[in-house]
């Protein structure tokens, strides 16, 4: 089966700065693929290149069997997009937003109207059908944006940070809906900087930094490959002093960030026994997760 999205050796610079620097991707049909990376890593630019909204300086793209950007228009017929920032039409009601958007795909009004009840139900917005956009909450707007991306029943859905700025309830509802789409066999490509989101949803991930893919695999494989299986976080005022004096004795690798020491270990027992004897310290023992991988690969310094 040919991949849904195939990109080879993409490069894109803006004003001499390399934003995308040799990215290759192959995303299978029915797969949920995540692009992870700190701000400015090139995630959104990669999406724009794949959609044919921006021309790469070099490299080739195939989206649903169409060469992009040459045949981007034909390719986008089968793609739905949830952008990073809401761009719903504020002058229209919820239902009108869906109707007007469906027309851009060349759909007949009758065809769109037949799909609107189902789309509203999917977005939990049936009761808001005739309400104008400015009165919707952030979560409702996101759900409507997702429903709008599905108006033409696309095979591939691009989601650029779909849950940024949402509260936990709204986020969980979006995740539930995205899992339903995956179960229906849709191909999803999402960017995020929430590791729990990537870990829950994505079959495979690529970690981007400075326009390059620095790691790519399934979430468990990334954790197994890049990080020790156990993490003990030690915190409190004395954590830093403790770490410098003792951490190296109990752990192969540790990092101090502010008042927390992160100790990466294969066997946590000796460390935990030691920590129980230290009354001034608090600690948390947990399995390693994707965030540990991400921070190891991209570093802890701020990206702004």
């Amino acid at each position: 089966m040919s991949p849904a999205i195939l990109a080879e050796n993409l490069h894109k610079s803006y004003g001499g700065q390399k934003v995308v620097d040799g990215i290759s991707l192959s995303i299978n049909k029915g797969e949920c693929f995540g692009l992870l990376g700190p701000n400015g890593a090139g995630k959104t630019t990669t999406l724009r290149l794949l959609l044919g909204l921006s021309e790469p300086d070099s490299g080739t793209i195939n989206l649903m069997g169409q060469a992009v950007p040459q045949h981007a228009r034909e390719a986008r017929v089968r793609v739905g997009v949830v952008p990073q920032m809401d761009n719903l039409d504020p002058d229209f009601t919820v239902a009108e937003n869906l109707l007007v958007y469906g027309r851009y795909f060349g759909m007949q009004d009758k065809e769109i109207r037949a799909r609107i009840p189902m789309l509203l139900e999917f977005a939990n917005l049936t009761h808001k059908r005739d309400v104008k956009i400015p009165t919707l909450s952030g979560g409702m707007k996101r759900r409507l944006t997702l429903a709008r991306a599905l108006v033409h029943d696309p095979d591939v859905i691009f989601l650029d940070e779909p849950t940024t700025g949402l509260d936990p309830q709204a986020r969980h509802l979006i995740w539930q809906r995205l899992r339903e789409l995956i179960a229906r066999g849709k191909t999803l490509l999402l960017t995020t900087h929430f590791m729990d989101e990537a870990e829950r949803l994505c079959h495979r991930l690529a970690v981007l930094d400075h326009g390059r893919i620095i790691a790519q695999d399934t979430p468990p494989a990334l954790i197994a490959q890049y990080i020790e299986p156990q993490v003990v976080e030690v915190f409190g005022e004395q954590a830093q002093a403790w770490a410098h004096a003792h951490a190296a004795h109990y752990t192969g690798r540790f990092e101090v960030s502010g008042e927390t020491a992160f100790c990466y270990v294969t066997d946590a027992e000796p460390l935990l026994a030691h920590l129980k004897q230290q009354p001034g310290l608090r600690f948390l023992h947990r399995p390693a997760n994707l965030e540990d991988v991400f921070l190891k690969l991209t570093g802890r310094e701020m990206r702004e």
């Binding site: 952008p83 027309r103 851009y104 060349g106």
Partner: protein
């Protein structure tokens, strides 16, 4: 400037759903919009026409108000396309991100630009026709030839929509549009024969006026209202078409560059 920015426009019927979107938004505010577009030109026409007109002798055999009528139809047409292509298009491009949403569908920027220009021209057609109705109701023209002002309004609308969209492509914010109105639109109103004949201007300024599109629009409209066939019609139409086509191409190139970032 990259080569693909300079490619000729690829036009398609995909523009039509975008035009319909603008129309649907407008329909929600149609009454206030029409009254708003009509108020300004009618106040000028009636105010200056009666006030100033009573002090002036007839001009080439017509009353000052009749003279003013042709200019009023044309400048209100110019204004409505300009406002739409500047403020409203900028809002859709920048603030509301409407274009961004549309461009994620099988629609291209070329379609979006065509829809913006045709929509702004549609509003010109509407306001030009509305002012023409007032001109008829005031009895300032009884000519069947005056019906030709309706397609003329569309052409003038295309011309100023395309020129306005160039400014939109360059604008960092709404404040920028003030320059266009004070440095382009207002001087055109004064130089192109809306309020007084271009022949009253010093020679140099007559030359400038001859290069400006509004002059050619008024040169077509004024004889038509008097039931006369305009002389040099072909030249006037050619100038307006040239501004429209060149303006559309330039605005498209600039918008391709702006939105590729």
């Amino acid at each position: 400037m990259k080569r693909h920015f300079l490619a000729p426009p690829r036009l398609s019927l995909r523009f039509f759903p975008i035009w319909r979107r603008h129309f649907l938004v407008w329909r929600k505010v149609a009454v206030t919009s029409v009254l708003g577009h009509l108020a300004d030109p009618v106040i000028y026409l009636v105010g200056l026409g009666y006030g100033l007109g009573s002090l002036l002798p007839t001009m080439n055999g017509m009353s000052y108000m009749t003279f003013l009528a042709a200019g009023t139809v044309c400048y209100s047409t110019m204004n409505s396309a300009s406002f739409e292509a500047l403020y409203s298009s900028f809002a859709r491009m920048h603030e509301q991100r409407t274009w961004e949403a549309i461009l994620n569908t099988p629609v291209t920027l070329d379609d979006v630009v065509l829809a913006e220009i045709l929509w702004a021209a549609s509003k010109s057609l509407l306001s030009g026709t509305a002012v023409l109705l007032v001109v008829w109701l005031l009895g300032l023209s009884h000519s069947a030839l005056s019906l030709w002002l309706i397609p003329l309004a569309l052409l003038v609308g295309l011309c100023f929509a395309a020129l306005g969209l160039i400014m939109t492509a360059l604008a960092p914010s709404y404040d920028f549009f003030m320059y266009y109105f004070t440095l382009v639109i207002t001087p055109m109103m004064l130089l192109c024969g809306v309020f007084f004949p271009v022949a009253q201007l010093p020679g140099f300024w007559q030359g400038v006026a001859a290069a400006l599109p509004l002059t050619h629009a008024i040169d077509i409209a004024r004889p038509l209202l008097r039931d006369e066939f305009p002389s040099g019609m072909l030249l006037h139409v050619a100038v307006l078409c040239s501004y429209a086509i060149a303006g559309m191409y330039l605005s498209l190139v600039l918008l391709r560059r702006r939105l590729s970032k």
